[in-house]
């Protein structure tokens, strides 16, 4: 997907905001800094432990806005509904979206609905776009990440991917896993307003923590080192990953943020994150170890150093 963006869309749509490689764009409009983002949701199944596609479509976009340092304000919603989707289900999803929007203090202000013939859609696609206001003086961007920064994560990783997979593939794990699906805007706002010089924020979604670290390493031209033992993970997630043969660091989250900030402010930042219910499990997981060409290295519990590559597609075994 990164290739598609790199080779098809970036060249075609070339703009300063796009090349900043943010989760959302920050643009100037009438003297204000606005954050603007959009995302399309195709999750299967539509209902999963800890959430549903509606909730996800709100939190996902709100989180992307929050990762630019913005206070999310307004959302749009676009629906592509496949003929035959039970109306009750759609209602339930709509209500869930409303509740999610209320929870983050954002409002739906516009929308669109298309119905496609049976077989022409996957039940339901939702697109949401959102805008928010970036407070004066806030500058959060991948290019600000520099050697000496600490890397923090707001909680345990890998839940969402496992929760969705367990329902979709009917995997009745010994200990059920709930998605971490949640809005992290308040967490981000608290961090920023506490006066910490946050260099960059990212919410690890598809591709998990490993993908976020790789993106930042590449876009900021740095070398990232993280400690396996410091990365919060739930035993249930670990157990499921072990059975599936997955690496939890590559499994999606939907309610976590990764923060890059000066090492000296680590303790204050952790305190600020842990103050909030969604940041209780916050931890410092590593640091920006130097300039680099985008490498990410994990120090394992054995003390060896493993490269966290961006893998092509599914995790293809490399054993022989």
């Amino acid at each position: 997907m990164r290739e598609l963006i790199e080779h098809v869309f970036l060249p075609a749509f070339d703009s300063a905001a796009l090349s900043a490689r943010h989760d959302g764009a920050v643009v100037r409009l009438g003297g204000a800094s606005l954050a603007f983002t959009t995302d399309t949701y195709v999750v299967h199944p539509r209902f999963f432990p800890g959430g549903d596609i509606g909730k996800l479509s709100v939190y996902g976009t709100v989180n992307d806005l929050a990762m630019t340092g913005a206070r999310p304000a307004y959302l749009s919603a676009g629906f592509i509904v496949e003929e035959g989707l039970p109306i009750g289900e759609l209602q339930q999803i709509a209500l869930s979206m409303r509740a999610a929007a209320d929870a983050c203090g954002v409002e739906f202000v516009t929308g669109d609905t298309k119905v496609v013939d049976r077989g022409k859609g996957d039940g339901l696609f939702i697109n949401t776009a959102g805008i928010g206001l970036v407070p004066e003086g806030v500058a959060i961007a991948p290019r600000r990440v520099r050697p000496g920064d600490a890397v923090l994560v707001s909680g345990d990783v890998g839940r969402h991917g496992i929760a969705v997979l367990s329902v979709r593939e009917a995997l009745a794990f010994e200990e059920p896993v709930e998605s971490d699906c949640a809005p992290v805007a308040e967490l981000a706002a608290a961090l920023i307003s506490s006066g910490i010089d946050v260099h960059c924020l990212r919410d690890p979604t598809r591709g998990g923590l490993a993908a976020v670290l790789n993106e930042i390493a590449l876009d900021a031209g740095v070398h990232v080192e993280v400690e396996e033992a410091q990365i919060p993970m739930e035993p249930a997630v670990l157990g499921a990953c072990e059975l599936l043969g997955l690496d939890p660091l590559y499994v999606a989250c939907e309610g976590r943020l990764v923060a890059f900030l000066p090492e000296a402010q680590t303790e204050r930042a952790l305190a600020s994150l842990r103050d909030h219910p969604l940041g209780r499990g916050a931890a410092r997981i590593g640091r920006i170890a130097g300039e680099g060409k985008g490498s990410v290295v994990l120090r394992t519990r054995l003390g060896t150093r493993r490269t966290l590559d961006l893998l092509s597609g599914e995790q293809l075994p490399r054993i022989c």
Binding site: A170, L171, A172, E174, R306, T307, L311, R318
Partner: protein, 767 residues
């Protein structure tokens, strides 16, 4: 008087060949000269016809241990004024490429000097001469002379300088020449494990350091020793506690350790050693040789069981540097000698790096101040049907080239992901790098790139093609992509099993089509599936998949490498579907079975494979051997040992089934699994099951050969580390008049991939 000009090719540089020529010519009263030239040695000799004859004859006969003459070109020349025979300086700069010598085990003469009670090199750990000592590990550039080695920091004392300059001396132009007055020194350093300890302490005189290190080994401690190509970890091999301590600290459960013995006689106290095995142990390459252990009753020394659990074999080696000789002599018993690394990382070469990385493993560090330019592990060999067969190719063999008579531009091949090597082709030869280890560690991946570039710099070759595996996520493939861009060279991606077969084809210099049985753990197939039980008709740059093992799912993918029970489950699922559940209870808890069967039913996290390696694992688990393995191939190794002990048996049914036209035939494991399950029910022993399984594979190899109609079969891939499997297939096919080729000096496993990639990439332009 007649005069001859000779050009000598082979291993003739860095091995004391010129002094040897000098002594021969002088003894025969011949005039003329000798000098190194790129790619060989050039000689002109003048004298009576009969003496010239004797001279040439003497060259072709084994000249002196490490040297090897492959070819001599001779021309007549006009008579000249000839004074006494001379050694001239190297001919430089005519554009041709120099050769690089391999590191050589301490020779007998140097060993005698070290052992003697007198003489200036008595007990000196860095004694070497023109025929032995470090080469590739100390070389920073070419041509090979002292200024371009890490010996440049040790100015020669007058005594050494005199030997170095004297053509009649054994140390004439011996680049690593040294003595206690001017050369490297050892030092003992203690690792501070106590956080209150201020750090690192050093102790004593060089000889005191050796004694203290030896005493520590005898006291059950772990001692890290900086040797030729990196650090080793030593513990007393006769002490179960010491071996257990090493395993605990190194977090290595069961993978066998090698043992260094003080002498060949000492090896014989623990293992059976054939004449050929003795030669391999004592040769200048001095690899680790896999030997058969004596029964406890017959053994003179009790090697702790934990050294090599679950196998009747033991990897033995002899001290190959004076330093190792001295330590072994002082310890007086065999020591475990394993690479100084954290699991799967490259071997440590630098003292400060070793102190950091091995600080939690070793109690003491015996270090020295001669820098190591590149890491070099011990080679691992066994003596098989046709002599020495390398399972790991490194010290003593790297970087000796393999001639490859193909007209192609320079090619750099990046190999695979595990047990990796890289290779460089230029001027009709391939140089394959030393074993580099596993690339899933950052250090391992970095070492692959560093070594690839090192080869191009050392031989001054700019690659015009880059070759790598098809797997997009192999470290080698990623590095290859970057290097292809950097060198602006086209990238040739070579299918894994094609490369396995091609490596053996290259080694034996075969031409025309062969049937390649490429059986291994797994490699990326043309269809994106995990291949590993392939019968390929290989003809140069192209191949056709003639047959493969019936595919089965591998629940948990890569996890299956360490869990044979997953292979067993995948095989049974393929055969029995839900019916596999009852069998699977032997290996999994009920709570695990639910998700596992859902995964299998939907194909989630269960890539399909045709791997014979995983079939071995599955059969091992079914035979009741083990559900979990502490290293890849452990189950297969145990199965081999059991089969060997059980003796020959009739094979299980393993039919080769024809497919639709144009599709590969399929080796159907169904009847085999049925029969294994039946035997288990009947209480047949695991050994008999193992023997029948091996026989079935030999049967099917025979069927595959017959179906191909080809007279030449190549056996390649990691499964052929299994000596029993290779030998029984060889026997069957040879009886049918089929010629069988197996890897010899290049490993059958992924260490051979880079060589195979070179051949395919070279031929791809010409086919």
């Amino acid at each position: 008087m007649p005069r001859l000009a000779l050009r000598v090719y082979g291993i003739v540089q860095g091995v004391g060949f010129r002094p040897f020529v000098y002594r021969r010519a002088s003894a025969l009263g011949l005039g003329g000269w000798v000098r190194n030239r790129p790619g060989g040695v050039e000689i002109e000799v003048q004298g009576p016809e009969r003496s010239l004859h004797a001279f040439v004859a003497g060259l072709t006969r084994e000249p002196s241990a490490p040297a090897r003459v492959e070819r001599i070109e001779i021309e007549r020349r006009a008579e000249q004024d000839a004074g006494p025979f001379q050694i001239l300086g190297s001919e430089a700069g005519n554009g041709a490429r120099p050769s690089v010598p391999a590191d050589l085990a301490v020779c007998e003469e140097c060993a005698r000097e070290v052992d003697s009670e007198t003489g200036r090199r008595r007990r000196y750990p860095f004694t070497s001469c023109a025929r032995c000592g470090p080469r590739y590990t100390i070389l920073s550039g070419l041509p090979y002379d002292r200024a371009r080695t890490t010996m440049d920091r040790f100015p020669m004392c007058p005594a050494c300088a005199a030997e170095y300059a004297d053509p009649s001396d054994r140390r004439f132009h011996a680049e690593p020449i040294a003595c206690p007055a001017c050369g490297p020194r050892v030092q003992l350093v203690a690792a501070a494990r106590d956080p209150m300890d201020p750090g690192i302490r050093s102790s004593g005189s060089p000889d005191g350091a050796l004694r203290e290190a030896a005493a520590a080994v005898l006291a059950g401690k772990v001692v890290a020793v900086k040797g030729l190509g990196g650090f080793h970890l030593l513990v007393d091999a006769t002490s179960p506690d010491a071996v257990a301590l090493l395993r605990r600290r190194k977090r290595r459960d069961a993978k066998p350790f090698a043992v260094m013995f003080g002498s060949l006689d000492a090896v014989r106290g623990a293992c059976r050693v054939s004449a050929a095995e003795a030669d391999a142990l004592r040769g200048p390459e001095a690899p680790i040789v896999l030997l058969r252990r004596l029964s406890p009753a017959a053994a003179r020394v009790a090697i702790a069981d934990a050294v090599a659990p679950g196998t009747p074999r033991l990897g033995a080696l002899l001290p190959y540097t004076p330093l190792h000789r001295l330590v072994l002599e002082l310890v007086g018993r065999p020591v475990v000698c394993t690479s100084g690394n954290l699991s799967d990382e490259p071997i440590c070469t630098d003292a400060s790096d070793a102190l950091e990385r091995l600080g939690g493993i070793a109690d003491l560090f015996l270090v020295h101040d001669r820098p190591i330019v590149r890491p070099l592990d011990d080679s691992v060999a066994r003596v098989g049907h046709a002599g020495v067969e390398l399972l790991r190719r490194a010290r003593g063999f790297t970087p000796l080239p393999l001639p490859l008579r193909i007209d192609a531009p320079p090619i750099l091949a990046l190999g695979g992901h595990l047990k990796s090597t890289t290779a460089l082709f230029f001027d009709g030869q391939v140089v394959v790098s030393q074993h580099l280890g596993d690339a899933h560690t950052a250090e391992g991946a970095a070492l692959i790139e560093r070594t690839a570039l090192d080869l191009t710099r050392l031989f001054r070759v700019r690659p015009e093609r880059i070759a790598c595996d098809l797997h997009p996520d192999y470290a080698g493939s990623r590095i290859a992509e970057q290097l292809a861009a950097a060198f602006r060279a086209p990238l040739v991606r070579v299918q894994h099993h094609h490369a396995h077969v091609a490596a053996c084809v290259a080694e034996h210099g075969l031409d025309g089509p062969v049937l390649g049985l490429a059986w291994d753990g797994a490699g990326y197939g043309l269809d994106g599936a995990l291949w590993g039980g392939e019968a390929l008709v290989v003809d140069g740059a192209s191949f056709r998949r003639a047959a493969h093992l019936r595919s089965f799912p591998l629940p948990g993918g890569e996890r299956a490498m360490r869990e044979p029970r997953r292979s067993a489950l995948g095989l049974l699922w393929e055969l029995l579907g839900e019916g596999a559940r009852d069998h699977a209870r032997a290996w999994f808890r009920d709570a695990e079975l639910g998700p596992l069967f859902s995964m299998l039913a939907r194909g989630t996290g269960s890539p399909r494979t045709t791997s014979v390696g995983r079939l071995f694992d599955g059969v091992a688990a079914l035979a009741g051997l083990r559900g979990a393995a502490s290293f890849e191939g452990q189950a297969a190794m145990e199965l081999e040992c059991l089969a060997e002990a059980a003796g020959e048996r009739a094979g299980y049914p393993l039919p080769l089934r024809a497919s639709a036209a144009g599709m590969p035939a399929v080796i159907d494991f169904g009847p085999l699994l049925d029969a294994v399950l039946g035997d288990r029910r009947d209480g047949v022993s695991p050994g008999v099951i193992a023997a029948r399984f091996h026989a079935a594979l030999a049967d099917v190899a025979e069927a595959l050969a017959a179906a191909s109609g080809l007279g030449r079969v190549v056996l390649a891939g990691g499964c052929f580390q299994n000596a029993l499997l290779a030998a029984s297939i060889r026997e069957r096919l040879t009886a049918r008049g089929v010629e069988v080729f197996t890897p010899r000096l290049y490993p059958p496993g992924d260490g051979g991939l880079s060589l195979g990639q070179v051949l395919v990439a070279a031929r791809r332009g010409t086919d």
